[in-house]
Each structure stands twice: as C-alpha cells, then as structure tokens.
Symmetry: none
Subunit: 226 residues, 2 copies
C-alpha cells in the first residue's frame, strides 16, 4: 500500500520524454515532464518529486546549470541522460550522493532499473543512520556531529576519521591502515597524529585525557570501548 513515487523527466526532445513516460508509468511511477529548465523548476516547486531524469544537452540553459540550481535547494537524486557516453566523466565529477547517469541508447529495462536503484539509495539514506556513544553522536547522512548535544563542526577528514572509528569501537587501526585508507598510502605516521590531535581538540572534553580516541602504543589508535 505504498504511495506512487513521482519522477520528473526533463528533456527538450519530446519523443524521448514520452518514451520514458511510457516505461515508467508502466512500472507504477507517476511521471511529470518538462521541456526546459525553467519549467522544470516550476514543476519541482509545485509537486513532491522523488527523482529527476535530466538531459544534459538542452538548448538555452543547459543541464549542468539546472542541476546546480536544484542542488542548492534539495537532495533529490538526479539521473543524467546523455546521448554520447563521452560526457560520462563530466557527470561523474558532478554527481553527488544518490546520482547516476544513463546513455540514451539504454534499454527501457535498464533505465527503469537505474531509477529504482537510485530511489532505493536515497530512501535508505533518508532513514538516517545515526551512531550514538552516550556523549558523542554522529549523523551519517548529514555528517553532523554532537558532543553532549552541542553541535561540533568537523572538517571532511576529521569527520571521515571519526566515523571510521565510531563505527568499529574497540577495534585497533594501525597507522598503516589509516594511511592506506585516508591518504592513499602516502604520508607518514606524523600526518595521522596531527590529524587526530586536531580531531581530539574538537571532540574530547579534555584532550589531555582522551575519552573517545585512544592511542595504542606503537600500533595506532582505537575508539573507546564501553
């Protein structure tokens, strides 16, 4: 008894739009359409849309520009449509969280599969994964961190490190493992130490007596147990 999911298809080529509408409606989706960027923005404002299929190459305002505007407002997953597969790299660079791309020559089945996959991902992501260690809380979907309910602002690397540790409490990570994972294997232990020092300064009530990230002499670090 699940509500229909709504997909917005944006393409100046009307035959493609109608083709996609057929496939998607067939699969039980509700479909909205737009033939240019401005129209798309209007539709987005007037409807609850769960995902967007967007042609990159459109006259006037192109797909990338539109994408940026949308992204400023929401996290809705976007599936990029492109005629040639050359653009794929560009799209990769642009792609965020739940995004994907399709070449126009893809089969109906494949397109529908991608749409479903993208929706599933954004779904499970919106279920909000949270890690909680009494005083410290991480929200994995928003990358927010709180200490005693107080929001803490971390840099990307700080957050990534903390998340790894918090997800596997008590597990000891060696310097080598951390370097491999966060520094592509280049750098030395010192880099790790400095980074963790900075992280501690932000999340440890008293950095001199760490409560969360403990050092394991000669080996590496681990997140506190119990």
């Amino acid at each position: 008894m699940e509500a229909k999911q709504t997909i917005l298809v944006v393409d100046d080529d009307k035959s493609i739009v109608e083709l996609l509408r057929d496939f998607l409606e067939n699969e039980g989706f509700s479909v909205k359409t737009a033939h240019d960027g401005d129209r798309a923005l209007v539709v987005l404002e007037e409807n609850i849309v769960h995902a967007l299929i967007l042609d990159i190459m459109m006259p006037g305002q192109n797909g990338f520009e539109l994408c940026r505007q949308i992204r400023a407002e929401s996290d809705i997953p976007i599936l990029f449509l492109s005629a040639r597969s050359d653009d794929v790299d560009k799209i990769r660079g642009l792609a965020l969280g739940g995004d994907d791309y399709i070449v126009k020559t893809a089969s109906p089945g494949e397109i529908v599969a991608r749409v479903k996959a993208v929706l599933r991902r954004s779904h499970s992501q919106s279920k909000r994964k949270i890690i909680d260690h009494d005083r410290l809380t991480l929200d994995l979907s928003t990358r927010e961190v709180w200490l005693d309910g107080q929001s803490v602002s971390l840099t990307p690397k700080e957050y990534d490190l903390l998340r790894l540790f918090a997800e596997r409490p008590k597990h000891v990570f060696t310097y080598e493992q951390l370097l491999e994972r966060f520094w592509e294997g280049i750098g030395d232990k010192h880099t790790v130490r400095v980074q963790l020092s900075r992280l501690r300064e932000k999340i440890e009530p008293n950095p001199n007596e760490p409560q969360f990230i403990m050092n394991v002499w000669g080996i590496g670090y681990r997140f506190k147990g119990e």
Copy 2:
C-alpha cells in the same frame, strides 16, 4: 541445511566475471556480479552478500576507492583480484581482518579455496578472535589482555611476545627463534630475558612461580600446558 552463501564479483572484464561465476556456482555459491563500482554498491545494498571479489584496476573509480567506501559501511571480507603480483604490498597494507588477494592467473581450484577460507575466517571472526587460557585472555583484534578478568596493559613487544606464546601453548621457542622473530636477529639472550621478565611481572600472579611462561633451561621458553 545451510543457506547458500552469496559472492559478489566486481570486474569490468566480463569474461573474467563469467568465468568466476561458473567456478563459484559450481561449488554451490550464489553469485552476483557488477562491472563497475557504482553498480557494486547498489548490489550490496540490495542483497545480502557474504564476500566480495574485487578487481583493483577498473576504469573510472578504482578498486581501492570502492573498497574504502565499502569498508566504511561493513566488515564484509574482500578478496582482491589483481593482474600482476606487484600490487600485493599495497593490498597487504589495506587489508583488514579477513581479507586476501588473488592473482588473475590463479587456478579455479585455488580461487574457490581462497573464497572458502576467507568465509571461514570471517565467520569465526565475527565471533571475535579470542585466545583463552582459563585465567588469561587475549583479544587479537583489539590487542587487549585480561588476567582474571582484570585488564592488563602491555607494551607492543610484550603483547607480540605473549601472543606468539599463547597461540602455541607447550611449544618451546628458542632464544634464537625469538631473537630472529622480534629483534631482526640482532641482540642476545639477555635482551629476551629482560623482556620476558617484564612481561611476567604484568601477567603472572606471582612472577616468582610463573604459571604461563616457563623457562626451558638452556633452550628458551614455552607457554604452559595444562
């Protein structure tokens, strides 16, 4: 009455993927496949996968990057595939817990054997790798040690020594073997004795009458047997 185990094979080379599928299905595994990292992530979300065979060199997002993303989410064992054996060192650094690697030239039988080994390990590891000798307990993944339930803090060398002994109770290690293994062959018996003296002080209820690490006159040491 055991459920089939599912293996995900990720490689851009479709012929290799199908080859592996044949071998593995033949052995009673259920096999999923993906030809790039993004697809792999989707498959992982949609299925219960017990192990992953992953090509390191793939166009676009490479295997290391994918591995990192997966590792952020789960502990699933990963078997790395590589064409050349040069990468082995890198993989070693990256590998955690139950991981392993295979060169593409390996025989079908070998590959299947590795998969099974890795699954066995991850199985017994999820039960946490622990060595227990009634009064003394080691947790190999966190390097923690307890004596009568009381946590004992050991230095790296102390721990490494203890672990070696505890893993092979009753086995006699000569001074020469210990020096070879922990001191790169340089140093003399005296060094070993001092080190073990310190270790005993921490783990022996009464260091004058050792319960765990016994001396073998003129030869070396061994861990107690019953």
